[in-house]
Symmetry: C2
Subunit: 307 residues, 2 copies
C-alpha cells in the first residue's frame, strides 16, 4: 500500500473481471469475482473494470454485474469501472452506484455492423448521446474506439476518422479516450503516429490504450505508447481475454507482464508483482488451465529452484 | 527470391537448427535438418546457424553438424553459420568448409563458471585467441557475449565490462559482436543504453542482438534495438529454444513474429511469411507440439475462417 501512495501518473486498469471473463465458457460465481477483485486491490491495482451492463442472455458471464457492484460497495483507493452500451445500461449503472463508466464503439464500419448491428456513424452518434446523459447524471466517462489501429474485416483505418470521432467524444464530455487495438494489428509505428495526433488534438483528455497480443506486439506497443506519453493502459491478470466477435483477436496484455515491463525499468506502477501473482494463481486454479502471462512461469520456476 | 535481392540492411539469422534444436529431447535426422534448412532458404532467410561443433556426448542433438554442413555444400544467397567453442571446434569447422563461425562466452562470472567451468575472464581470453586463430584461417567471425543484459545468478551486469570485452573481441578480429540476453532480463531501457554505448565505441563493427522472450519483452527489445540502429537479430522459427544451463531462460524470438513486426511497418526483411510458416508447420509436425510463435496461430485462424 505504501507503494501505491507514491503513485505516479501510470495507471494500469485491470479488466480481467470484464474483458477477461466475458468469453470464458466457465461462469464465475459472484463470490469468486469478489475474491478476485479483493486480490487485485491488495496487489495495488487502482482501477478495476468489474463487469458490463449488457443483456444477460447474450453475455451470461456478466449477468451479476449489478449484484457484484452492490456487494463491493464503496472502495477506498480503487476506482470501480463498468462498461455500458446504452441507456438501459446507464440506468443499471446509476442504480447500483457506479461513479465511473466505460463506453465503446468500433470505428470500423464493417466491425460495427457485425458486432453492434449498425454503422459506425450510428454507433458513434448514439455513444455521444450516452456520454452526455451519463455526464448529466454526474458520472465520470471514458469513451473508447475499437479497431482504432486496423480492422480484420476492413483493413486499414483512417487516422483522420479516429481523430474526428475522438473529438466528438471529448466534446460530449468524455474525460478519457481509449484507443483499442481490438485485433492486435497495431505496430510501434502506428501507435506512435496515432497517439501523437490524438494527444496534439486533445491535450486535456486522458488517453488510454487497450492492446491485444495477437501478433506478439502487445508489450512493444505498450512501451511505445508510454514513450509517446500515454500513462493509462488496460490489462488483464494472466493475459485473459480476447474478443468474441473478432476472429483472431486473442489475449489482453497480462497485468503482471506490464508490471514487470515498467518496474524493471524503475517506473512505478503501484502494483506488487508478488501479490498480483496470487490473483493469477487464483484464475488458473478456477479456470483449470495455464494463462498466457509470462511472469507467473518465471516466478514459479524461480521458486522451484530456490524453494 | 526477388524480395531478398532488394535486401535492406536488416538481417534475421535463423538459429532454430542450433539454438532451437539443441535442447529438444527428440533428435532430428540429418535429412530432416536439411529439409528445414531448405524451407528456411526458400523463405528468404539469408543467414542460418545450422549447428555447433561441441562434444556429441554432451549435446547429441548437434552430433551430425559436420555431416550436415558437408551435405548442404555451398549455398548461394544463404550464409551458413556454425558455433564453435574451442580449437577442436575450429578444426572441425575448417574441415567441412564453413566460412562463417560464431563464438560465445558469458560476461557473467557466475554463469561462466556454471556453464563453461571457468571464470568469465578465462573464457574471454580463450575466445580472443580463438578469434585470432579463426581469422588467420580466413574465416569470418562473430563473437558473442551471453548474459550481457543481466544474469539470473549474478544480477546486474556492468555495461563497462561488456564494453571492455566487446573491444577485445573486435580488436582480435571479430567483425560482428553479438549481445545476448540469455535469460530475457533486458528491457527497452537497457537495450537502448548498452547498444548506444557499444555502437559509439565500435562504429565499424556489426552489432547483433540475441534476445529471449522469457518475460514477454522479446519483440519490444528487438524494436528498441532497431530504433537504436541494430540491423541484425537472432531468431528461431516457431520461437523454439532456450538455454539448458540457465533456469528460467525460455524461447527465442519467433522468426515469423519478427518478420511480422518489421514487415507490418514497411521494413523489408527479405523473408516471405507464408513460406516461413511452412518451416514452422514442419517443426510443429516433427516435434508433435505447438510452438510459441504467434503468427502461425493468426494465419491458421485466418485460413479456417476464409478457407
Amino acid at each position: 500500500m505504501q507503494k501505491s501512495q507514491q503513485m505516479p501518473g501510470l495507471l494500469l486498469e485491470d479488466e480481467s473481471l470484464r474483458d477477461g471473463l466475458q468469453i470464458e465458457s466457465q461462469l464465475l460465481s459472484t463470490e469468486q469475482k469478489i475474491e478476485l477483485f479483493n486480490m487485485l486491490c491488495r496487489a495495488g491495482v487502482s482501477r478495476i473494470q468489474v463487469g458490463s451492463f449488457v443483456n444477460p442472455k447474450v453475455v451470461p458471464q456478466m449477468a451479476d454485474t449489478d449484484e457484484l457492484i452492490r456487494r463491493l460497495g464503496q472502495q477506498s483507493g480503487t476506482v470501480i469501472s463498468a462498461l455500458i452500451l446504452n441507456g438501459k445500461g446507464l440506468d443499471r449503472a446509476l442504480a447500483c452506484g457506479v461513479g465511473h463508466v466505460s463506453m465503446s464503439v468500433s470505428i470500423s464500419d464493417s466491425h460495427s455492423r457485425k458486432n453492434a448491428g449498425r454503422s459506425a456513424a450510428e454507433a458513434l452518434a448514439a455513444m455521444v448521446e450516452l456520454i452526455v446523459a451519463a455526464k448529466a447524471r454526474g458520472l465520470s466517462v471514458r469513451a473508447g474506439l475499437q479497431s482504432a489501429f486496423g480492422c480484420v474485416y476492413q483493413g486499414e483505418i483512417s487516422e483522420d476518422a479516429v481523430l474526428a470521432a475522438a473529438e466528438q467524444m471529448a466534446e460530449a464530455g468524455a474525460t478519457e479516450i481509449n484507443l483499442a487495438d481490438s485485433t492486435g494489428m497495431a505496430t510501434p509505428a502506428t501507435i506512435r503516429s496515432l497517439v501523437r495526433r490524438v494527444a496534439a488534438l486533445l491535450p486535456e483528455v486522458r488517453l488510454s490504450l487497450h492492446l491485444h497480443d495477437t501478433r506478439g506486439l502487445g508489450l512493444a506497443n505498450m512501451y511505445c505508447g508510454y514513450e509517446e506519453g500515454v500513462r493509462t493502459f488496460d490489462v488483464c491478470a494472466g493475459g485473459l481475454g480476447g474478443c468474441p466477435f473478432i476472429r483472431g483477436a486473442a489475449g489482453n496484455i497480462p497485468t503482471e507482464d506490464a508490471v514487470n515491463l515498467f518496474e524493471s525499468m524503475g517506473i512505478a506502477t503501484g502494483i506488487s508483482l508478488d501479490r498480483l501473482l496470487e490473483a493469477v494463481t487464483f484464475l488458473e486454479t478456477v479456470l483449470h488451465r495455464q494463462l498466457p502471462g509470462k511472469m507467473k512461469r518465471v516466478m514459479d520456476h524461480r521458486q522451484a529452484c530456490t524453494g
